[in-house]
C-alpha cells in the first residue's frame, strides 16, 4: 500500500499550486521544499503541454545563468522571473520581512545573515511566496523589528512585485495587496483554527469556513513521489533521502 500523504508533501503540492501559470521561477540555494514545489509545478505544466523554467541558485545543474551572480537580479528586473521565495526571521502582519536581526540595530543581539536580495526581488518579482515552516509568534510577528523588504509600497513607487502568499507548516495565508495584510486561505491536515490563532503574532482575516489545504492525489502524487523526488536527488540529496526513508517506513505501517 502506498504511504499516506505527509505534511512535507502537502507543502510541496501547495507550492506547486501557487506556481500555476508561472513561466520562470527562481529558487534560493538552500530551499529544498520550494525547489520540489517548483519541480512539481514544472512536471504538471509539461503534462499540459506548457513550459516552465526553473533556476536553482548555486546549483550547477539547474543554473543556466552565465553572467555571474548579478544575472538573477537583472533577469528579475527585465520581468523574466515570475516567482521567487522568501523566508525571514520575522514576517509581520503587513507582509514586511526581517532577515537582519532582533534586539536593536545595528548592534543586534540576535543577528541573522542579512537581507540578501530581498530588498530588491520582493519589489520586482510579481509572485513572491513567503515560505517559513516554523509557525510561531516569534516568527509571525505584529511588527518586524527591521524591514528588509516591505510587504507593500505607497502608490507612485515602482513595484511590479510583492507577496502573494505565506505558507507555513500549519496553514496557507493569501496576501491581500489592497489591504496590505494576510487572510487565512487553508489549514493543513490536523491543524485547528485555534492553534493557528495562538501561534500567529499578527491579526489576519478569514472566510466563514476555512477549508483544509488540498492533499495531492492521483497524477500529482505520482509525479511528486516519482519524478520530482528523483529530480531533487541531484541538488538536495539529504532532503530526497529523508523523504524516501519516510515513504518507506510509512508504507510499511
Amino acid at each position: 500500500m502506498s504511504a499516506p500523504v505527509s505534511i512535507r508533501e502537502v507543502l510541496i503540492s501547495c507550492i506547486a499550486t501557487l506556481l500555476q501559470g508561472v513561466r520562470h521561477v527562481a529558487v534560493g540555494a538552500a530551499s529544498p521544499a520550494p525547489a520540489a514545489g517548483a519541480m512539481l509545478a514544472r512536471a504538471l505544466a509539461e503534462a499540459q503541454g506548457e513550459r516552465m523554467r526553473l533556476s536553482i541558485l548555486g546549483s550547477v545543474e539547474h543554473n543556466f545563468f552565465t553572467n555571474g551572480s548579478a544575472e538573477l537580479f537583472d533577469c528579475a528586473a527585465q520581468g523574466r522571473i515570475d516567482a521567487f521565495f522568501l523566508g525571514g526571521g520575522q514576517i509581520d502582519g503587513r507582509g514586511n520581512v526581517n532577515l537582519v536581526g532582533v534586539g536593536g540595530y545595528p548592534q543586534s543581539q540576535v543577528r541573522w545573515p542579512g537581507s540578501f536580495g530581498s530588498a530588491y526581488l520582493y519589489y520586482l518579482v510579481p509572485r513572491v511566496i513567503l515560505f517559513r515552516e516554523e509557525h510561531s509568534p516569534r516568527v509571525l510577528v505584529e511588527e518586524a523589528e527591521f524591514i528588509s523588504g516591505p510587504g507593500t509600497s505607497p502608490e507612485g513607487i515602482y513595484r511590479p512585485g510583492g507577496p502573494v502568499a505565506l505558507l507555513t507548516g500549519k496553514c496557507l495565508f493569501h496576501f491581500d495587496k489592497e489591504r496590505g495584510g494576510f487572510s487565512l486561505a487553508s489549514l493543513h491536515p490536523g491543524v485547528s483554527l485555534e492553534e493557528v490563532r495562538d501561534l500567529t503574532g499578527f491579526a489576519f482575516t478569514q472566510g466563514e469556513i476555512v477549508p483544509q489545504t488540498p492533499l495531492p492525489s492521483g497524477l500529482r502524487l505520482d509525479l511528486l513521489r516519482g519524478r520530482v523526488r528523483a529530480e531533487l536527488e541531484g541538488t538536495y540529496p539529504a532532503f530526497a533521502a529523508s523523504w524516501g526513508a519516510e515513504l518507506k517506513s510509512e508504507a510499511k505501517t
Binding site: G58, T66, N67, A70, G114, S115, Y120
Partner: protein
C-alpha cells in the same frame, strides 16, 4: 608556494578597502592566514571589507582576528553550517561597523565603478530599513519621468584590493573566471587584484576563443599565485566540493573568542 602567497598579501595594507567574493564564486582561502599574519605584523588591520555580494568564512576569520573595522555586505553566512559566528559576536558587541546592503546594490556599486560613473540607479529599496540605514544611498525623483518616480542612487564602489581564487591562470597573468563574471566586476573596481589559481598554465588563455570567453585579462590582474585546493574548505565550481564538515567544525568552535583562538592555533587541514 608560501612565499608566493606572502608576495601577494604584501599588497594589502591596514585600512584598505577589500573586495571578497561570495562562497561559491572562488574564495582565495589559502591567502587568509598569510593575510592575517601579514596585517597583524603590520600593526593591525582596520580593513573595510566589501562582500560581493555576501560574505562567509574568509570575512569571518578576518573579523575574528580583529582586522576588520567595517563590512559592507548583503549577508554573512556559512551556508549549510549556519551563521557566521565571529561576525555575529562582533555585531553583538558593537565591535564592527556593518553597512547592510542588498545583493543587487553591491553589484550596482561595482557596475558604477566599472563604468566610471559616480552612481547608478536601482529599483526596489524604497521603504526598507536597508535604505534607511544607508545615508550614502540617495533617493531622487527620476529626472526622465513626467510623473513622480522616486528611485534610489547607489554610489560607485571603488576598492583598493580585490582577492579571489580561480581554476586556472596563464603566465601572462590572464585568469579564467568562467561564468563567474562578478569576479571581473570586482577586478574592474579595484586598484590591485590578487588572484590565486589552482594551476598556472604555460599556454595563453587568450589563444583560443573558447577559453578566452571566460578570461579576465591580465590588464586587470596585479599578481597571481598557484595554490592547489586554494579555496578549501570552500569548494571550487567544477573542481571540488566544499568541505561542509570543516565549515561546521568552525561554526561550532568559533562561537566564542576562545574557541576562535583554538581554531586559529590549529594547523589548517
Amino acid at each position: 608556494m608560501s612565499e608566493d602567497l606572502n608576495r601577494l598579501v604584501r599588497h594589502v595594507r591596514p585600512g584598505m578597502r577589500v573586495l571578497l567574493p561570495v562562497d561559491y564564486a572562488g574564495v582565495a582561502m589559502a591567502l587568509t592566514r598569510p593575510l592575517i599574519a601579514h596585517l597583524t605584523a603590520a600593526g593591525g588591520g582596520g580593513l573595510h571589507l566589501i562582500c560581493v555580494p555576501t560574505g562567509g568564512l574568509q570575512a569571518d576569520l578576518l573579523i575574528g582576528a580583529g582586522l576588520v573595522a567595517s563590512i559592507e555586505t548583503s549577508a554573512m553566512t556559512l551556508g549549510e553550517a549556519g551563521g557566521a559566528p565571529q561576525f555575529n559576536l562582533a555585531v553583538r558587541e558593537g565591535r564592527i561597523e556593518v553597512r547592510d546592503a542588498t545583493c543587487p546594490a553591491i553589484h550596482a556599486g561595482l557596475m558604477a565603478a566599472q563604468k566610471g560613473v559616480p552612481f547608478v540607479p536601482l529599483r526596489g529599496l524604497i521603504g526598507s530599513d536597508v535604505l534607511r540605514h544607508r545615508p550614502d544611498w540617495k533617493v531622487i525623483d527620476n529626472p526622465l519621468s513626467d510623473a513622480p518616480d522616486p528611485i534610489a542612487l547607489i554610489p560607485a564602489i571603488h576598492a583598493d584590493v580585490a582577492i579571489f581564487h580561480v581554476p586556472i591562470a596563464d603566465r601572462d597573468g590572464n585568469v579564467w573566471i568562467g561564468r563567474r563574471r562578478e569576479l571581473a566586476a570586482m577586478a574592474y573596481a579595484a586598484r590591485t587584484v590578487l588572484v590565486t589559481a589552482e594551476k598556472i598554465t604555460d599556454s595563453s588563455l587568450l589563444s583560443d576563443e573558447v577559453s578566452a570567453a571566460g578570461v579576465l585579462p591580465a590588464l586587470y590582474v596585479t599578481e597571481v599565485a598557484e595554490v592547489r585546493q586554494g579555496a578549501k574548505p570552500y569548494g571550487l565550481w567544477g573542481q571540488y566540493p566544499a568541505d561542509v564538515e570543516e565549515l561546521m567544525r568552525y561554526a561550532k568552535l568559533a562561537r566564542s573568542r576562545e574557541g576562535f583562538a583554538e581554531y586559529m592555533a590549529q594547523v589548517p587541514a
